[in-house]
């Protein structure tokens, strides 16, 4: 790693003087924006890595199959959107009108999808979305945008309720971050729980910059619910993981929304994560998926042993596979690609995907659980790689 840093120094210094080399062949230009600086910079790699891996694997095969008429390599045109949605809109305009890219792939995060929606609509560029989930996305006019995510909050709520019922859960405690995706999940979860007759014994919402959860968790412990459902993002998920152990939350079902599926998070908690349920619907090599084990191995090889984010990276990769297969079928004509995306069924690492309107109509919302350090899909049963297990005592 020290050597690695030194090499990197040279690479960075070299960047100042290096001119871009031009490829001899005639590649397919694909554009996108990515948050390289700003608030979401640390989330960007989960998407960028999937794109880069895809480019590697496709180019290793000789390039994209253009409707059965030969192969062309992929060349990316990417810009930093500074974590700013308006900047993303500007970038997609630049990509389309100025850089004259052949196709575009998705920016990172729900707000950015809203920002670029009118741009791709206007220029009739098909865009398969990823890393975006909100029921508001369904209000996007069907046309040139699709959303690969299986985690639309209303569907997640249904899946969650069904999963809880299957485990005989009668009462829950809900903790949630005030940020949009978490509170949208709660908006649908609460009525679903009520309908299923599951009681909410404790509920608390907190701002994103919360520093301590002990007060909440002591109250949760006192109510002793069957399940604790924490709708959190990586930062607050870590607070929960530390302080729930301290306070001694021993519910048999504990859900931590975003975090446990990301590599660094598992590195921080290791065996303490056993039994924790999280959002996700994928594990390498699971049945019903195409090439997911190959993706996993290739990812670990390319990114020096790091694991992919089981939620975002997988979804992003599936979204570009969809594009790849549409191109293989109909070539580079964008109207034809659009029709293909609307009608075809795609074989991806995420399973078979067919769009229903703007959303993924095939992949059900689901949950994964960390079992003996491995991520297993535990819900829905049709996709499960292992049954849901009780959360045992904390490892230490």
């Amino acid at each position: 790693m020290v050597k690695h840093l030194i090499i990197k120094t040279f690479v960075i210094l070299g960047m100042f003087g290096m001119a871009y080399s031009v490829q001899a062949a005639d590649p397919v230009k694909i554009g996108f924006s990515i948050p390289k600086t700003g608030m979401f910079a640390s989330a960007g790699p989960s998407q960028l890595n999937a794109y880069l891996l895809w480019q590697d694997l496709v180019n290793a095969k000789g390039g994209l199959d253009i409707g059965g008429k030969g192969r062309r390599k992929i060349e990316f045109v990417q810009y930093d959107d500074k974590s700013n949605p308006a900047q993303a809109a500007k970038i997609y305009e630049k990509l389309i009108t100025n850089d004259k890219v052949d196709l575009v792939v998705a920016p990172w995060g729900t707000p950015h999808h809203f920002a670029v929606a009118p741009v791709v609509e206007r220029h009739k560029f098909p865009l398969v979305g990823n890393t975006a989930a909100s029921v508001a996305l369904r209000k996007v006019k069907p046309g040139y945008l699709w959303f690969t995510s299986s985690m639309m909050p209303d569907n997640v709520a249904k899946a969650m309720t069904a999963m809880l019922k299957s485990r005989g859960v009668k009462s829950v405690a809900i903790l949630y971050n005030l940020l949009p995706f978490a509170s949208e999940n709660i908006q649908f979860l609460k009525p679903a729980l009520a309908k299923a007759g599951i009681k909410i014994h404790f509920e608390a919402k907190y701002p994103p910059d919360i520093k301590d959860m002990t007060g909440m968790l002591i109250k949760v412990k006192a109510k002793n619910p069957d399940a604790v459902l924490v709708h959190s993002y990586p930062g607050d998920s870590i607070l929960y993981m530390n302080q729930a152990r301290e306070v001694g939350i021993n519910a048999k079902t504990q859900y931590v929304m975003v975090g446990p599926a990301i590599g660094f998070f598992r590195g921080m908690f290791k065996s303490n994560l056993d039994g924790i349920i999280t959002m996700g619907s994928w594990a390498p090599g699971m049945k019903g998926t195409t090439g997911s084990q190959k993706f996993y191995t290739a990812y670990k090889k390319k990114f020096k042993g790091h694991e992919p984010d089981y939620l975002d990276t997988v979804e992003v990769y599936a979204s570009v596979q969809i594009l790849e297969q549409a191109i293989a079928k109909v070539g580079l004509n964008r109207e034809k690609i659009r029709n293909a995306i609307n009608t075809m069924t795609f074989k991806t690492i995420y399973g078979d995907v067919k769009f229903n309107g703007v959303q993924n109509g095939s992949t059900p919302s689901g949950f994964t659980q960390i079992q003996k350090g491995k991520i297993e899909v535990v819900w829905p049963k049709s996709r499960a790689t292992a049954p849901v297990a009780d959360k045992g005592a904390w490892a230490n």
Partner: protein, 306 residues
Amino acid sequence: MKNSLKLVLAVVLCVFLAGVAGFADEYILGIGFTIFMYIALAQSWVVLSGLTGYISLGHVVFFGSGAYVFILIWGLVPVWLGVFCSGIVVGLVSLIVGYPVLRVRGPYFVILSFGLAELVKNLVLINEARMYVSMRPVFGAPALYQLYTAMLLLAIIATGLTYWIRRSRFGAGLRSIREDEEAAETIGVPVAKLKLLAFAISGVIPAMVGAIFIMRSGIFQSGDAFTPIVSFTMVTMAIIGGSDDAPGPFLGVVFLVLLQELLWVNWPEVYMIILGILLLGFVLFIPNGIYGWLSEKYFGNKKNVT
């Protein structure tokens, strides 16, 4: 240059920029939109902070509040009336908020302005969660050339306002506050009233900019709308250009946005680093900004900057 000549040039430039909306490609319009947005913001910032010396590091509070007011009435009133209303509402509220806030001086004001923006951001976040509205997409916003023209209009108004205030009695009063607030008060300058007025004026245009901005970004979210980056960017642009008079922010914005278009494309992190180094250099070596430096060097009029 004679004043009349300057005016003619300015009018020609504005007419040309407005005419561009008709035929330029989207990319050019996008850059123009960004330039005008920051000109409007930086000019407004100068009215308060450049002239009075009350450095606001939380000007995004006006921008974000304007955006929030606008999204709340989105669909209920015609679009451009909505933009106007958001400016008026924020202006009125800032007259009330400004009263206690402007009693705080010096570094305390700087930090307070910063904290105020964070406070309002969190209030909006709670309010949104209470109403169970987590995503507020803006569907059916006006076309880019309309937004471009509206932003151009705001930039012109803001520049004109700064130019005019800087030369008015009002502006002289504001600058006397910067030189020595107590002394100004003793000789009968209505310090409190002037400050409050400057505060409100300096909030109205950013509020309208915020409203137009969310039509461009297609979504309102409190985290984005109140991001401190916007505050920092407008301050940086005004300081690099020169914060004592209208041409300053104009030059600062054009310089930085164009620099960004050149560098950011291939090396985003490097662009940010160069931006940082430039800012260091300007503060240390050219504290009067591009305009102050130019006018000292080429026009020989020593700008009075403290």
